[in-house]
């Protein structure tokens, strides 16, 4: 059942008065999805704007070779499929449930009508879409102008124990993917992609909690790339 208290915390609906929220609530539908279920398929026609009530959703693009680029991991309160709903074109990316998920949805025709009736929704939409543009500019910067893979390779070489230190390897700092992202100046998602690329090159093996350097020469070669 759609709950007004959950609705009022959705960024698209922030600042709406109770009577305005009640008006919106009449058009909202609830939808559940199981883990790994695709809620929005890339390239499908724009149907609805979704708000996450519980669970987590990943938004991703998949290349024709099956390579995936995660654009973001969304949490309760976050919205998805807004680009397609507002420009009327097909969905630019897929949205996949990472857990059991409950979302609220608003059909495209309803959100357009509601935005005209309650201009605060339009102001919220501008802020949310501007924040998305800012996030994607940062991602484009990472992917286009920086060779993150070579920086991750360099980082792994720096943190790998040398012959003298191998005995005390246990005492060496261990790094999360978030730590690595902070150290090379990128996002956690891009680090994950770089580690996968280094694995494909045969330079490393990611094995549960361990990153093993298999071929130091290849890793050094990659780390020297621009």
């Amino acid at each position: 059942m759609v709950d007004i208290d959950s609705l009022k915390n959705m960024p698209y609906l922030l600042g709406l008065e109770t009577d305005e929220l009640e008006d919106v609530m009449r058009s909202v539908f609830e939808k559940s999805a199981e883990r790994n279920e695709i809620i929005v398929h890339e390239d499908e026609p724009a149907q609805a704007l979704f708000f996450i009530v519980s669970g987590a959703v990943k938004v991703q693009k998949t290349s024709s070779e099956g390579k995936e680029q995660i654009l973001g991991i969304l949490r309760p309160g976050d919205a998805f499929n807004d680009v397609a709903v507002f420009d009327g074109k097909p969905a630019p990316a897929s949205a996949i449930a990472m857990s059991k998920v409950t979302v609220y949805g608003l059909n495209r025709t309803d959100i357009v009508t509601l935005t005209v009736r309650h201009p605060k929704i339009a102001m919220n939409a501008i802020q949310i879409l501007a924040a998305s543009v800012r996030r994607y500019i940062s991602l484009v910067e990472d992917l286009s102008f920086r060779n993150v893979t070579s920086r991750v390779a360099k980082l792994l070489l720096q943190y790998a124990p040398d012959q003298a230190q191998v005995e005390e390897a246990q005492a060496r700092p261990r790094l999360t993917q978030q730590d690595m992202a902070g150290l090379v100046g990128t996002s956690r998602e891009v680090v994950g992609r770089s580690l996968k690329a280094l694995e494909e090159e045969g330079a490393i093996r990611v094995d549960r909690h361990r990153i093993a350097i298999l071929d130091k020469d290849v890793l050094e070669e990659i780390s020297a790339e621009d």
Binding site: G55, M98, S99, T176, H209, R210, L214
Partner: protein, 73 residues
């Protein structure tokens, strides 16, 4: 070396997202705090760390080098 997520319970806000994204039932909320419940089933997918907005979960990697490099093989 721990091969399951490390949780800083002081940072945990009890949102439960980590429990929801864990496909192997490794984590549980106890009195609204995330805890490792079944460490043996963890596959170290690191999804719990990725969804934790509070920064309470860490899945660190030890960086090692294959022994052959020390023997110059």
């Amino acid at each position: 070396m721990l091969d399951y997520p490390q949780i800083n319970q002081e940072y945990c806000n009890g949102c439960g997202l980590c429990v929801m994204v864990c496909s192997n039932g490794v984590l549980a909320l106890v009195h609204n705090i995330a805890m490792v419940y079944s460490m043996g089933t963890c596959v170290y997918c690191t999804n719990c760390e990725a969804v934790c907005e509070a920064g309470a979960i860490r899945c660190p990697y030890e960086i090692t080098i294959e022994y052959k490099h020390f023997l110059n093989l």
